[in-house]
Amino acid sequence: MPTITQVTTTDLIAVLPLLVLAGTGMVVLMWDAFEKRPSRIPLTLAVVGSLGAIAAALANIDHNGRAFRGMLLDSTYSNFYAIIFSIAAILAVLLAERNLKDEEVVIGEFAGLVLFAACGMVMLASGMDLIVTFLGLETMSIAFYVMAGLFRKSVRSNEAALKYFLLGSFSAGFFLYGIALLYGTFGSTNLDVMHRLLLNPADAARIVSTPIFWMGTAMLLVGFAFKIAAFPFHQWAPDVYDGAPTVVSGFMSTAGKAAAFSAFVLVFDVALAPVVANTAAQDKLQFILCLLAVGSMVYGNITAIAQTNVKRMLAYSSIAHAGYMLLGVATLNAEGSRAVAVYLTVYTLMQIGAFGVVAFIEKESDGGLFLNDYAGLARRKPMLAFIMTIMMLSLAGIPPLGGFFGKYYLFAAAIRAGLTPYAVIGVIASLVSVYFYLRLIVLMYFREQGETAYGTEIGKSVSILPAGGGAALAIPGTTGAWAALILAAVGLLVLGVAPAIMTGVVQNFFVQP
């Protein structure tokens, strides 16, 4: 009989980032429930709370152990990801005030949901037990379902929420079945236990030769592939990112994806990594992962070319970026997982920055989701155009921006793991991506309002305001949004020039206690 034990101080310190996020979320919601006058206090509280979570994670960053009886990882890995999620939460909250104001969304509710979603993400990044992983996934997803439907008057937003909800729960079913089958083979849901069993040759041989182990792995893979929107489980992503409020799309497609990847890496590159000892099994696993990666990179980038709607374009490009990172997961070693973490950091900044700019333009020109609405932006809004250019160049992987270093590191890890052909495909796919990222820059800088990018018609413009019409309006709530955009852009530059900031930290990943 297990004895009911006290929670130790070590445990509490380990979950401090999580506690801070959850606590702030409650406080924000409470404030919102009792204070009816609109104010900036909930937003400020949310930002301060996220900063607190960052501070707590920084304090814990040298830890390397387990908390709550092996339930939770308390190490550089989990704390590094906690910092990424908190930064994403700060950016989302800062951008929200401008994006959500006119839609009669109570900003405090949004901030609370963002913080709860961040809690789920931290659970994903630190779950050493598949039960925690599952709960984290659901905590995050439920907050996302609500956030996607936040514009209650908008049918598009409702539909996005419904589609996300149905497909999200559907994939959760597969994920759960995968957990169940792995539990059946291992007799435990604990990742450390799985790891240890696979290290033991006799057990490993038994497990690898059990068909339900592979069935369970495949199901888990499907579940993760849904969450990271990898081809061919991506169908929900463009519709949801398009229909959801722009800031929410930015948050979902960055932090949400980062969280799913953090758990993905824990399950595949840590717990199941000893499978590598078995050559045939390694090839099997690697081949499937590479197939997903190549499919996502090629499909995402090629489809993105055909998009006329910026949000859809970013959605398809996010599918492609998931493909690059899958290549890192496919290495099945610590090197690859470091590369994924580094890439996720820069990806979060650039994708949320790009969505942030879209949120600005969207407000300005009442619609503003079509590529052609960006024509001549450099003249109307030079600063916005400049930030968007940085985001696009970084997404395209051009030095000296952060996106380049991330890609370099990822491909280096892939080539070291012997996946050179897939890395070459990735490089070619990213060349394709240059085309459509560049198209936006062409529109912003080289074209006048109303013109198209490469001479051909690429979608109708829905701009209503005359040139410069929006610029004259003084729109409130922009300070925070500007701060977020500048933060993202500067972050990308700094991480590109001095990647050691990240790489120094990720070196300590995955030291078994």
């Binding site: 339930m71 008057k153 038994r206 068909p211 339900i212 069935m215």
Partner: protein, 169 residues
């Protein structure tokens, strides 16, 4: 065939049959009721596995709470009977074949793994399924997920209010 086995087959066939009916009936209300029947059969299966606590919770949560909520929404929205005809295009056929293929694979995996899995129910099973032992487990080893479940519930509650409340702001 001993009595336990007979009960198992009755419950299993009942669960599968009512699940099939749930998926194929046109009326949403009938589907919902069939699903309740499936849940009850499953609860019985849990009992044959000596998982008493979960058997009770199954009826209380699924049949009692969730399905009542679903039925309530169906009535509230006054949905007309959905026209359910399987369109006979290649997509449907391909989807059906794919689904059957997956089922065959899962079943094959299960049967091929059977020699590596235990054949008899564990001696401790009766103890493990009791409310007491599950409660102790929840408050010891699994205290962290147990606490975190509260965050799911609170965000779901808040979310439901945000989405479904009538007056804006």
């Amino acid at each position: 065939m001993e009595i336990g086995e007979i009960i198992f087959w009755i419950l299993s066939i009942g669960a599968i049959a009512s699940a099939l009916l749930c998926v194929t009936r046109q009326s949403a209300v009938v589907s919902a009721l069939m699903l309740v029947l499936t849940f009850v059969c499953l609860s019985g299966l849990y009992l044959t596995l000596q998982a008493q606590f979960l058997a009770v919770v199954q009826v209380a949560v699924y049949a009692g709470a969730i399905m009542v909520l679903v039925l309530f929404v169906i009535m509230l929205l006054n949905l007309s009977a959905e026209e359910f005809k399987i369109s006979r295009n290649w997509k449907t056929v391909a989807g059906l074949l794919a689904t059957l293929g997956i089922m065959a694979q899962i079943l094959a995996a299960i049967f091929m793994s059977s020699d590596k899995l235990p054949h008899t129910i564990h001696a401790n099973a009766g103890v493990l399924g009791t409310t007491e032992s599950i409660g102790e487990m929840l408050y010891s080893n699994y205290s962290f997920p147990f606490e975190m479940a509260s965050i799911i519930l609170i965000s779901a509650a808040v979310g439901a209010i945000i989405l479904a409340k009538k007056r804006l702001v």
